[in-house]
Symmetry: C2
Subunit: 219 residues, 2 copies
């Protein structure tokens, strides 16, 4: 057995990585086993030797990300909710997004068409729980939109959105710069929904509901 616990790259790993890139860029339906194999430097038969089917390959590709997300969520739900734990949660979540951006992008944009596959359904309920954990009680439509835009927006921006920037921009932007900017925007997006739960003493005067001013929509 090649049980190499260290960082060595096994065939399985290479195939998983290549498949992930393909799934994220051309979609699950658009990525053929033959093409994945060719890019990775193997034959289609080899792919099907390591993974029972195309669906099994998808599961193997996404499962680590979903596992990690589940850990983060459980850890957050296990503690009593304070501002500190909530911030810790947001930071963990940003770590997750940055580390598993391709997996997130794959799931976010294709979950609807992949319903029925185990890991996809599992991720679906996880996203639901995540949404409830952040918006929890009296989740308004606006709160749900804030969460959805944070999730879908991050997935898009970090994967597809970058391709619109000039190559110069992409090259000169350090990961740390992206991370801190993303953090600011994410917190800005999710702040109004989080303010609600932990104002023990300090106000938020009733006149100004957190950030929002009622706006009329003509039609």
């Amino acid at each position: 057995m090649t049980t190499d616990t260290s960082s060595r790259q096994t065939t399985s790993d290479e195939l998983r990585l290549t498949a992930l890139e393909q799934f994220a860029s051309v979609g699950f339906a658009g990525a053929s086993l033959a093409h994945i194999a060719e890019v990775a430097g193997y034959s289609k038969s080899s792919v099907l030797y390591h993974f029972a089917s195309k669906e099994a390959l998808l599961e193997a590709v996404l499962t680590p990300a979903i596992d990690r997300l589940e850990v983060i969520l459980e850890q957050f739900l296990a503690q009593p909710e304070t501002t500190a734990t909530r911030m810790r949660f947001v930071d963990d979540f940003i770590d997750f997004i940055l580390e598993f951006r391709l997996e997130l992008h794959t799931f976010i944009n294709q979950a609807q068409s992949l319903k029925g596959i185990a890991v996809i359904d599992r991720a679906g309920v996880l996203i639901m729980r995540l949404s409830n954990a952040i918006c929890d009680n009296n989740a308004s439509v606006e709160d749900q939109i804030r969460f959805g835009m944070a999730l879908g927006g991050a997935a898009y921006t970090l994967v597809a959105g970058m391709n619109f920037s000039t190559p110069v921009n992409r090259a000169t932007t350090s990961p740390d710069e992206i991370r801190s900017a993303l953090r600011v925007v994410m917190i800005d997006l999710l702040a109004p929904v989080s303010v609600r739960s932990t104002p023990p003493a300090t106000p938020t005067p009733p006149s100004a509901a957190p950030l929002l001013t009622p706006i009329e929509t003509g039609k």
Copy 2:
């Protein structure tokens, strides 16, 4: 000739609509001509009679949305920039997103794999110009992320994100409610990039509404 200028549904229209739904839900690669035809109630040959190829069908599906987006952008760029014109632009943009959510979702999430198709490339440069128009001078990384999250987040939330909500929620949420909530969040996201003089935002309410002066969305 069936030049019916009124709202009658021609075969071409039915096919376009069905194709749009399929492209948005299972992706361009995953949507087969035979399945589109079957759902619409025609044969695959009929689809290829009205549209020269699968790519031509995609172009016919996306072009109206891109045309509309181009008009909005040109109109904004033609005027001197004031708070009023900028708000008008944001409202137009939200109208656009709501009306063409499926087209936007299709383009946003599959542009990278469809590069080379005319309408996709055209949409790509349009998005670039749009980003520059909103972030214009000294666009920081954070500004670009804000724009990307607004764009990708809206596309996701309005199409895929809704599927996670309970059916009850989906049914009881009126379009107007969604629209106004989306407007608040979008402006919240894009406000800092337009009012750059404002110091780094503390989540406290008073500083939050720089350009949120209530304006009728004349539509």
